[in-house]
Symmetry: C2
Subunit: 381 residues, 2 copies
């Protein structure tokens, strides 16, 4: 049987593990996987665009495990009471091609995206100095709490400066953070992006508008800032004014680039990232190079650094194998489903159609028996 | 909620609809969709190869519905008691990007592949004359019963000549067909491919060996034969001797080609089909052209025709929308699963992680309530 993890199960898993601990496990898994970059079969995601949004498939494999994520991006959805981004994914065994786990990835993507932002910021943002524990959070929608909490728990951010064009979103974010009563956290709702950004050592943009927006303009940028640009993640969807990437007047990086821009997987980021606004020869650094010490994440305290985040399949691989591993200690949260036939004679697929149904729980526990009657229905006469 | 159709549910659905009727619905859906070829976003499937096999993703969309199929091909699996090919897929709403249906596609792929073979044969195989109601079935594994029954029920085949290098597979196929006691069907187990092919108007090859095999050689081919080459479907996996495609001595087709070869989607078939053995300029015809009368399926009773079947995403699209439509009349077979969060405020994804779980059965029936307790678990304290 294939294990299924729905929204309610992942929610319970995170609650039982603890949010900070769960985020840290994601950071550790992604760091481990980004360090073995060459082990992965990498490709730009497959996208089908429509007037309302985009539907993407993000596959990857390390030769032992395979995974893909299905993810949509429909900014108009919120007006209809639906999520802009929903996702689910599958982890499979490369040796047999059999799926192992089907999981929701909407909550999980929000968690892994925030964890990835922290992992990168650890290598690029200033550790000390003015504003190093202050983060501006521009865009206070579905992703914002996850960014806020990941930076609070894992990077020591203690002041969050919030702005969203929709004041209700900011109110929602502030309320959710207040309810958590996090020691030492100072939450400052702001009336403009400029006000939120001023004095912040880290600026995180998580807006959802599907257009070439200019959430941040050069006049807002201060020396030493680390920009965690998360919202611009598909063709025609950016958040940074291109001059920020060129950074006029800023000290050039050693190789003479206008900006130090770190990406996940360059071929995909050229299509989907902030750098889609730049010429094809605009120099960028892949994060794995920074992580492995082959390139600096930051050259000086004055340098402005940019993580041009779009989300790469490897991060979902790390997340799915983390969920899969956690099922060893939380087996009761998984529901076995009959996604794949089980049979005595693999050449007799027709026998499955005709005859006795496959045993639905070969390793079934009482929990599993209770959990999936409908998936174990007796054959119709 | 997203509907889930597992192996047991699809089995019951086919049993309740009736195999012949179900196959006909698949043929009708595929004919409808192949006629509107230009409506679909088409791409060669995404494949990740490993020593043991291949894992593929096959996405497509008509602008209203989106689907993808996950399918593996691991010939070595049978030795381990596992299926060579397993599959599952998802149907989604393009407008919102939300998934509608998650379904097993192992049984369904076998059914749609056989239905596609029949749809094509209707336009390429001779209707009358010697052997027109006789089919050789080379390779008697998991796909063979489905091909046999589709051609019996929908194309009037009344003699099946069986051969497999594994006699146990032939015995299994013959036994399964016998148990169905199909009026007028004559089943002839043979001791060689040549014996099985001799006098057959239709030759179906469904072998699983992952290599460039030569199941059929030119000396076996008789004028007027239609070759339904199903087994050769990925790089390095073919079944026909290339001279069969060149067809030395046979009357050339009007455009001077050596053979009349029909494919599903040319760019994919060049990579995966029998024609991977031929030069890039080897002329082929896409089935949609034949279906719409833009090209002949057969020029004469003497011509040898070849359907170089590899399986295209459009066929899974047709199958998934057929399954989805059948749930209107068989709702009790679907299990709602919480693959996607349901929430009042789409900007408050964090609220899902924190708070009350989403209602697991907004349109839930008693059946559904019974069917998914584990997917509706109360939050942990």
């Amino acid at each position: 049987m294939v294990n299924y993890l729905g929204v309610n199960s992942v929610r319970q898993l995170v609650q039982q593990v603890g949010l900070a601990a769960f985020l840290q496990q994601l950071v550790d898994a992604m760091e481990h996987d980004y360090r073995r970059w060459e082990s992965f079969e990498k490709s730009a995601r497959h996208a089908i665009h429509s007037p309302g949004g985009v539907i993407e498939l993000m596959p990857t494999s390390d030769g032992e495990l395979y995974c893909f994520k299905y993810v949509n991006g429909h900014p108009k959805n919120t007006a209809e009471g639906l999520l802009t981004v929903t996702a689910f994914g599958v982890l499979a065994d490369v040796d047999t091609g059999y799926p192992l786990l089907v999981s929701e990835l909407t909550l999980t993507t929000a968690l892994r995206t925030a964890a990835m932002s922290v992992l990168v910021a650890r290598h690029m943002a200033r550790k000390e100095g003015p504003g190093s524990h202050t983060m501006a959070l521009i865009g206070n929608g579905a992703q914002s709490e996850f960014q806020a909490l990941a930076f609070y728990h894992l990077l020591g951010v203690r002041e969050l400066r919030l702005f969203d064009t929709d004041p209700a979103a900011t109110t929602k974010l502030a309320r959710n953070l207040q309810h958590l009563s996090l020691p030492g956290l100072h939450v400052v709702p702001c009336t403009s992006t400029a006000e939120a950004v001023r004095g912040s050592g880290i600026v995180t943009t998580v807006t959802a508008d599907k257009r070439n927006a200019t959430i941040l303009t050069p006049d807002m940028i201060e020396p030493g800032m680390h920009l965690n640009a998360v919202g611009g993640d598909c063709p025609g969807k950016t958040e940074l004014h291109p001059d920020i990437l060129r950074r006029p007047g800023a000290p050039a990086a050693p190789d003479g680039r206008g900006a130090r821009v770190v990406v996940e997987f360059e071929p995909q980021s050229r299509i989907e990232g902030e750098i889609q606004q730049m010429p094809a020869d605009f120099a960028v650094t892949e994060f794995t190079q920074v992580l492995r010490g082959h390139a600096p994440g930051r050259a000086s305290d004055h340098e402005v650094t940019v993580f041009d985040s779009v989300g790469f399949a490897l991060e979902d691989f790390s997340a799915l194998r983390t969920l899969h591993a956690l099922l060893h200690t939380h087996p009761h949260l998984a529901t076995p489903i009959d996604l794949i036939p089980q049979m005595d004679n693999p050449k007799d697929l027709f026998g499955v159609l005709q005859g006795v149904p496959a045993p639905a729980h070969p390793t079934g526990t009482a929990t599993r028996l209770r959990s999936t009657p409908a998936l174990q229905e007796a054959p119709t006469p």
